[in-house]
Symmetry: C2
Subunit: 346 residues, 2 copies
């Protein structure tokens, strides 16, 4: 770490034997590039080594353009951001990337991503290896959970983050770390079966998933069927903000349906905090009541006695902050991160 300039020796008092040293962490001795790639828009940031954002930007980007186009554009944006921050590319210490897909943690590759055609098993790390620093990749909601927990709930070891956007996903923090499960798919509340979904076909190929009836995409589809133009979660939020009663009604119903599934999740995981984020959470005044109602009605009293259900504080910055923190964790303590990424050890 000394060699990398990440820490600097500031002396120490000798009491005989090997000279003791006190090191001071220097968050300005390098930067992290962080990306949150979404289905329709992405956010990129340059942060310092404490995870504090130096510069960031959000822009429309269709992930269906495929990995080559999306990652080329991201690299170009990173170059511009570094320039904007007045930081040399040589100062980059790590890269963290979030994608809206399950990710194989051993390789950082997307696994059968339903909304990312062309990305299946794509080697994102290799493509971004140009900075010659560790590149870490994880699922977007895992990173939102990490960003939110580290930033806003440092004393809360168990947290469930639920992203309600065009799709629905969840990320779990156990004892301060992302819990990925055996195949990296832990926290998948969006594809829990719910009777109310009937035989609605989900983009995952199953029928009756929560996402197929309660996501922003599902609401937009139902509105469209009634002649109200909408295709994304953001469109739904705009309609809600404009006072469209049908959109408001559907968001409130979604809240109750999501609450039904989160009631099960709270029983199973017993988290201290459930954070609701994602685009549809912008309509929190209409989304949260149903979630709270059903979780408190459906979960056992021991689990609900202290559980707090809160909207995301970091909002649409949660993912990119989590991506930066994932990379920082690895740069400072590669051994703590999954063995699988030790090939990138500094």
């Amino acid at each position: 770490l000394l060699e990398l300039g990440l820490v600097s020796g500031v002396g120490g008092v000798s009491r005989g034997g090997r000279r003791p040293s006190v090191f001071s962490f220097n968050p300005h001795s390098g930067v992290i590039l962080a990306a949150g790639l979404g289905a329709t828009h992405s956010r990129l940031a340059v942060t310092d080594l404490a995870g504090v954002t130096l510069v960031d930007r959000e822009f429309d980007l269709d992930i269906e353009l495929g990995p080559e186009a999306v990652l080329s554009l991201s690299q170009k944006q990173f170059t511009e951001l570094l320039d904007q921050a007045g930081v040399a590319p040589a100062s980059v210490r790590g890269v963290g990337v979030g994608v809206p897909a399950p990710v194989e943690s051993a390789t950082g590759k997307p696994v059968q991503p339903p909304i990312m055609p062309g990305w299946d098993s794509y080697p994102i790390r290799d493509r971004l290896a140009g900075y010659d620093v560790p590149v870490l990749v994880d699922n977007d909601v895992n990173l939102m959970a990490l960003g939110e927990q580290r930033t806003c709930y440092q004393n809360v070891p168990n947290l469930l983050f639920v992203k309600v956007a065009t799709g629905i996903g969840g990320g779990i923090i156990v004892e301060g770390r992302v819990y990925r499960g055996a195949d990296g798919s832990a926290g998948d509340v969006g594809h829990v079966h719910i009777a109310a979904a009937g035989d609605a076909l989900c983009r995952c190929g199953k029928v009756g998933c929560l996402e197929a009836i309660a996501s922003g995409g599902a609401i937009a589809r139902r509105l469209s069927e009634q002649g109200i133009e909408a295709s994304t979660a953001r469109d739904v939020v705009e309609l809600v903000n404009a006072g469209n009663m049908r959109a408001i009604e559907l968001v409130r119903e979604s809240g109750r349906l999501i609450g039904e599934v989160l009631g099960s999740a709270v029983n199973i995981l017993n988290p201290r905090v459930v954070v609701i984020g994602g685009d549809l959470a912008q309509a929190e005044g209409h989304l949260m009541p149903g979630i709270r109602e059903l979780v408190y009605q459906r979960s056992i009293s021991l689990a609900t006695g202290h559980v707090r259900i809160a909207p995301s504080h970091l909002d649409n910055r949660a993912e990119v902050i989590g991506a930066a923190l994932m990379a920082i964790d690895h740069v400072f303590s590669p051994a703590k991160v999954d063995e699988a990424v030790t090939e990138y050890a500094v």
Copy 2:
């Protein structure tokens, strides 16, 4: 550990400096007392320090007799078991106890146990402090999960154990340790709401819980209503073994209902193995097909691609073995166990 005789020095080759030592673990240098207290029957064991059972016994014991009577009888039984094993009470190094209730991990006290009248907040540790060794207490299913994972799935870090008996409960292992959640109630699959349960009242006070319709107790109640005598999960298994078609039909239906909830649990936890134990698992030929059918139908492909659904190998010995292992973990590495139990550090 040397002072306690738990390890013995067996020499070592000096290469200068402080004399190196090689220690040999002596599993026979002490014993563990382990208890699995059930609603209607209990199992007690004396194990060595590797968790290998030296002697054990199971007997009918109604937990509703209350803590004084149950723990007095258990102590008497422990004395007899030590005598039977030819081990002096002074050789006891730790005590592990499982109870069919949520347990506050900081104190080892049962918390609002629905089926243990008189046990709420009872100081089990103090009552069993007579051996002057650490006393550890945990929920029965957590210990079953621990016992099964350590004994049969040592290379499987993520495991969900589901006990289907008179009630239904679950225990979660994450990275080789019991995951308790924020309040110790993690893994509670029995009180997940299920539409098929309608407005059936559960003993937890809610309506529509899985346990209220699919547990051994629920099946026994439904059989009784049809004039078939049964009150426990064991009675149901006896009827199944005797070829009672109505009992078989209800157990098969239970399998599907349990599978419905476990489908959600597999999505949320993404475990590598789901182990089905408890008395009703004795009828596994009729219980497992429905569980497997629904889990594979309801969970996302990434989570179900490698998940294995297996009956318990340890069967009715899982809890007491888990209780012994919990105590052994603490005796050999008190720091690793929750801070809360360090007051009992050896």
